[in-house]
Symmetry: C2
Subunit: 271 residues, 2 copies
């Protein structure tokens, strides 16, 4: 754990991250002691700082902090970066001169197992919040409630719909659906997190001339999908084996796209 | 500052309050060294714990902690109670045996000035989140963004509408509108915080036979209102002098109701 450049520093109880969720986070895969998709994570973090008007970290400083936190012996694990507007007096108004808090924690962990991914749909709706949509911010209580709906260790993820019944994302992953050879992914302009692997997938698909429609997806369209992929920085792009107990056995029509995205997800980027 | 019964204890950087906003808070007025509306604040906190499945604090313990934090010399001020699911490992899934964090901070402060309250409407929408509606939870980033829209010290509050244009609340207060003698307050079943003074107002009005409709209120209905009251635990129930520069000069048709609610808001409750 590093906090503002110091190992194991305590957190101020006045931090606005605690009081309001006034901040952002990134969760990075680490391979060979190096963070993966560093540039994508950094760009999302900086975009979030712009949208929330939090002074951004210096990119080179943050990269050095990440290396410090990962250390020399690390091989495979997870790096979490948490970045808040820092401590302040009571009240929602941001301080005139915020001193952001940057926490980094590296956790050694094996790569994700290759077992079949079983998924369920959640009852907890994900809110419609255009002001925050797309950002990986610290207001994640809906995800906590959705993830509380199951404890079966065989269920890897839960899918959340907004109050109007539109499919948005998993509690910690983005979705790609297919019906025949038609690929769709939920529009995230009103809700959800614009994941780094989702971005990578959209860019890679465009480069290969494969169309992915970004659109509203009803719960019914999800139920009728031939198949479903989940993506995030820790699992890459993975096919779902069953949804609410219904087996999804159709093969993904673009297996090379999936392989390239997953390989790229776990390619370490040295500084 | 007290943290889990200890003065000035540091906060764990693994606290789920920080990582996910996984918790609740209460902001209480203190008069004559005693918290006001203690029972209403406590009941809302306990309801929030039930809805979020966080083990609740023991009421008598929390009351003693509040007295400890306020101390002997305090006269007038603000007590903030922050209550989270406590520290845990990475991941949204709540721990099987959460150890909640309870922070209390007393800040001496004069009673609010009696000056005219000028209000504006905010551009930042407040999200539609049925899972969290009514709770005073720690996911408050939309309020931070809304409160960032102005720095003019003469503007006391900003009013937030949901993405469909329905009026919900102020960044830190509830609303009561009147058109003639018809009183309305926004429905909070999809968004917003069910304030303790709002509850007191609804109960007091019912006891006096005065009807307040809890309903959807459009931005247009707000603009056409004869007048507007704001309520929270620190200001009581206060009339707004202007909205977006438009003077609101009509007197509130039930001044005794307003006086009784405000008087009750600031009546200390001894343990």
């Amino acid at each position: 754990m590093r906090s503002n450049g110091i190992a194991a520093a305590p957190l101020s109880p006045d931090d606005r991250g605690l009081h309001y969720g006034d901040g952002l986070f990134e969760t990075l895969a680490v391979r060979n002691g190096q963070p993966c998709l560093w540039r994508y994570h950094l760009e999302r973090l900086l975009l979030g700082c712009r949208r929330l008007a939090i002074p951004p970290p210096a990119a080179a400083w943050l990269r050095r902090e990440a290396a410090q936190e990962i250390g020399d012996n690390a091989v495979t694990g997870v790096l979490k970066i948490l970045y808040t507007r820092g401590p302040a007096q009571r009240g929602y108004a941001p301080p005139a001169n915020p001193q952001p808090t940057c926490l980094l924690r590296y956790t050694p962990a094996p790569p994700p197992a290759e077992q079949a991914i079983h998924v369920r749909t959640c009852r907890t709706p994900i809110g419609i919040s255009p002001a925050l949509a797309g950002l990986k911010h610290l207001n994640r209580l809906e995800q906590v409630l959705a993830r509380s709906e199951w404890s079966d260790p065989n269920i890897a993820e839960g899918i959340m719909c907004d109050p109007e019944g539109q499919v948005i994302e998993g509690t910690a992953s983005n979705l790609l659906l297919w019906h025949g050879t038609t690929l769709t992914t939920p529009d995230l302009s009103r809700s959800g997190v614009a994941g780094v692997v989702r971005r990578l997938l959209l860019e890679q698909a465009a480069a290969e001339g494969i169309e992915i429609a970004i659109c509203s997806i009803s719960r019914r369209a999800l139920q009728q999908a031939d198949g479903l992929l989940l993506s995030n920085a820790l699992i890459g792009l993975r096919q779902v084996a069953s949804l609410d107990g219904r087996p999804l056995t159709a093969p993904f029509p673009y297996p090379e796209l999936q392989q390239r995205v997953t390989a790229r997800t776990f390619t370490p980027e040295s500084a």
